[in-house]
């Protein structure tokens, strides 16, 4: 995929923003703070990478926030119950395998309903947004479950070679999905399916399988993020990750991915998510009121999309002239 000028502009703006913050906000440009930013964005970032594929394929997933909460509670519930029959290490590992192994199910269901019965993914995932949060509440009975051994916390809160573990997972996921989208047949098919599903079908591309796969994969990534999150807070909490879906979709859109499908880049999403993380961190360091932070983020989404539209417009005019 050729790099869009939008990503380059966004990267330049991000660089300028970092320079301004380095000068204006004491403590911004330190290794500790930058790693902190990276950790803060990594869990949403992992999901945003999957969401990029979903949106490029012309679909949407509103359930990822609830999927994170559900995965954390499911992980805690399983650990708690397995603890009774197994020693802690195998109990946690088995719970983790089961959680990730079942994590793809919500997305798979969304994909099946979409491709076999024509139910829009917006609707199914809206239902899952409520439903999964409900199941998480049922599993925990409304209170945080805390069955985890001490060492479990190093997954979400620990460091490897001085770098936060979630950040390593985020960067690794980025590398895998970047290769997947730019250098495999699967990735090419995702762009084609989102750009024109009927033309893709007539070209012999398995449209239903591609759509289901990206939805299932994103769901599984939400489960991974859910495990990291449960480790960071050392509990399965049903009320966690509320509203993440909107932050994640915002990051994907800021990164230049089109909500109508068929266009977007994984690299753009990476920039979008870093952008949001840096803005929040910078404003916190500058002691900007949290309510203002919300307003600024809203403005950022609009500005990024407007910028993208204006570039496309200018490009289209240039092409016909």
């Amino acid at each position: 995929m050729k790099l869009s000028s939008h990503t380059i502009v966004l990267e330049a703006v991000l660089a300028v923003l970092c320079v301004i913050l380095a000068l204006a906000a004491p403590g911004f440009f330190t290794a500790e703070n930058l790693l902190n930013v990276l950790r803060n964005i990594s869990m949403q970032g992992i999901i945003a990478l999957g969401m990029t594929m979903v949106i490029i394929a012309g679909e949407i997933d509103l359930s990822v926030g609830s999927a994170v909460a559900f995965a954390g509670c499911w992980m805690a519930w399983l650990t708690g119950h397995l603890d009774a029959v197994l020693s802690p290490v195998p109990a946690v590992l088995l719970a983790m395998i089961v959680t990730i192994g079942t994590g793809f199910v919500p997305g798979w269901i969304t994909g099946i309903l979409r491709t076999r019965y024509g139910v829009p993914s917006f609707i199914t995932t809206l239902a899952l947004l409520t439903g999964l949060a409900g199941i998480a509440e049922l599993l925990t009975d409304g209170f945080p479950l805390t069955p985890f051994p001490e060492w479990y916390g190093s997954l979400g809160g620990g460091y490897l070679a001085g770098i936060p573990v979630p950040a390593i997972m985020f960067v690794a996921t980025f590398a895998v999905i970047l290769v997947l989208m730019d250098h495999t047949v699967f990735g090419r098919s995702v762009y084609a399916v989102g750009g024109n599903a009927e033309a893709a079908r007539l070209s012999g591309i398995p449209v239903a399988r591609i759509k289901t796969a990206v939805l299932a994969l994103t769901s599984a990534l939400a489960a991974v993020a859910g495990i990291l999150q449960s480790s960071e807070i050392m509990s399965g909490t049903a009320t966690t990750a509320k509203g993440w879906e909107l932050d994640i979709i915002a990051a994907v859109i800021i990164g230049g991915t089109s909500l109508t499908g068929g266009a977007g880049t994984v690299r753009g999403t990476m920039v979008g998510i870093v952008f949001l993380g840096v803005i929040i961190n910078g404003m916190t360091l500058l002691n900007v009121n949290e309510y203002w932070q919300h307003v600024v983020r809203g403005g950022l989404i609009l500005t990024a999309v407007l910028l993208n539209r204006m570039q496309k417009h200018a490009h289209a005019n240039g092409a016909t002239a």
Binding site: T184, Y191, A192, N196, E198, A199, R201, L202, G262
Partner: protein
């Protein structure tokens, strides 16, 4: 009596003359047919008469007075209404609401912000009574068959009580039986004194329907005669000129080995019990008027729609066309009728589109190899003569001809045994047509079995070894491409009278 007269009307665009010195006179109370092949200038004429564009020169006289439209609204005020092939109805609204869209009757007095539904319904019933239509005004438009939707569309145009009604291929999506209802309505309108200008590709029914037939040929008038006097042969010469030069492209004879065999393929009501064979190196044409089932047949062979009965054999292997990927594996490729909707992913680059049908062959150890991709793209661009300065350009920036070549190139990359082409030259300039014809000739000489569907009959005669004729979803004849004349082919395509 309404009269519409055009005197030496011309319209030029930079580089092309769409209409030149067109003069004709039409009178009310009659159906006037306007025929001509694609690009002959019919749409330009409609756009001039509806005020969408002004003529470059010449005058239009309505009832003897010269008229100049600055906008479509001017044309509407002058009493000219138009109905197009694409429906403009909102499927989830009722018939009455669709007909009164944007001008729904209001209630009286203090309630004047509210819609008077009873009045809307009453007016619609009155309109339908005048037009001899029996439809319930409260029915949702989306629940009606397409033919009845087209009737509603015409009724909507007539609700403004225009003197002149332009119809731009209103029946092209309809089968013969469905079109009959539209024809009945047109006859009713003509009997009420309306001047109807009916633009159509359906030549078959014209002599029963129209009062006069006028042909456009490359922007000039190819003749205007009372319909009863025009024979199919005359229609041909009106549309194509006296000197139809048929220079055949094919320099080779087909082989004897059967590549594609279609047996008892049915997908009612579109087509039924269709059987035929295509040999190695053969170019087979399928001729038929609009609505004859030819597009549906090609789609079923390619697996785009699942046929109800029958099977397809490719190189001796029997396939049941359940899915395009199944038929692709069997070696069947199809360039569909509408390029932008079904052929291309317009947001992607030329390069990405060219690789779309054969992604699997691009990979080396699981990853797409840029080297293989370069080779595939370069071959396709060379073989199909695609004129593109940069293969990373979005395919939407290309001309229609080059887009069609991209569709062709995409499929040729898969190394097909059978190539199905649905209207391969629609909306394409002459140079690109020639190039596509040449590509088809070259490929078939190498052994590719090709099936071409086209409404341009003279093109079929140029391109094909053999031509099958379809009428009402059945194959009714087979003609030799080399010896058949255009008149004979057209006569075969029309309903016997």
């Amino acid at each position: 009596m309404t009269t519409l007269e055009l005197r030496q009307v011309a319209r030029t665009y930079p580089g092309t003359v769409a209409l030149k010195d067109f003069s004709v006179s039409w009178t009310g109370g009659n159906i006037h047919a306007l025929i001509g092949r694609n690009g002959a200038g019919k749409s330009t004429l409609v756009r001039i008469l509806t005020g969408a564009i002004p003529p470059t020169s010449g005058t239009v006289l309505l009832n003897g007075t010269e008229i100049r439209f600055r906008s479509p609204a001017d044309a509407g005020r002058a009493g000219i209404a138009a109905v197009y092939q694409e429906l403009s109805l909102l499927p989830d609204l009722s018939i009455a609401e669709n007909i009164h869209l944007g001008r729904l009757p209001r209630r009286q007095g203090a309630l004047s912000h509210f819609v008077d539904w009873n009045e809307a319904s009453r007016r619609t019933e009155e309109l339908f009574a005048r037009l001899h239509l029996s439809l319930n005004p409260s029915t949702k438009v989306g629940t009606l068959p397409v033919a009845q939707q087209q009737l509603v569309e015409i009724a909507k145009a007539m609700s403004a009580e225009p003197d002149i009604l332009l119809l731009d291929e209103p029946t092209s999506a309809l089968s013969f039986a469905e079109a009959e209802a539209v024809f009945a309505l047109l006859r009713t309108l003509a009997a009420r004194g309306v001047l109807i200008l009916y633009i159509t590709h359906r030549l078959g029914e014209l002599r029963q329907l129209a009062g006069t037939i006028t042909a456009l040929r490359d922007g000039v008038c190819g003749g205007s005669f009372p319909a009863a006097d025009v024979t199919p042969a005359q229609m041909v010469s009106m549309m194509f000129g006296e000197d139809v030069k048929l220079t055949r492209m094919l320099g080779h004879e087909p082989g004897t080995r059967t590549v594609l065999q279609v047996r008892g393929l049915s997908r009612p009501p579109a087509f039924e019990n269709v059987s035929f064979e295509v040999h190695e190196g053969e170019v087979l044409g399928i001729a038929g008027l609009l609505g004859s089932g030819r597009t549906e047949l090609l789609r079923a062979i390619a697996g785009a729609d699942v046929p109800q009965r029958g099977d397809v054999t490719v190189n001796g292997a029997v396939c049941h066309p359940a899915d395009p990927s199944v038929m692709k594996r069997a070696g069947v490729a199809m360039a569909p009728e509408s390029r932008k909707e079904h052929g291309l992913v317009t947001g992607l680059s030329v390069r990405a589109n060219l690789c779309l049908a054969d992604l699997a062959r691009l990979t080396e150890r699981g990853l797409v190899s840029p080297g293989r991709e370069d080779a595939m793209v370069a071959t396709a661009i060379r073989e199909c003569g695609i004129g593109v300065p940069d293969q990373h350009m979005p395919v939407s920036a290309l001309s229609g001809g080059n887009q069609q070549k991209v569709v062709l190139g995409k499929w040729l990359a898969t190394g097909p045994h059978v190539l199905l082409l649905d209207e391969p030259t629609r909306g394409i300039d002459l140079a690109a047509r020639a190039q596509i014809a040449q590509t088809i000739g070259t490929l078939s000489a190498r052994g590719l079995a090709t099936v071409v569907v086209s409404s341009e009959l003279e093109e079929l005669l140029l391109l094909c070894h053999r031509i099958l004729v379809m009428r009402r979803g059945r194959i009714v004849g087979a003609l030799d491409g080399a010896t058949t004349t255009l008149e004979e082919l057209l006569a075969q395509c029309m309903e016997p009278t």
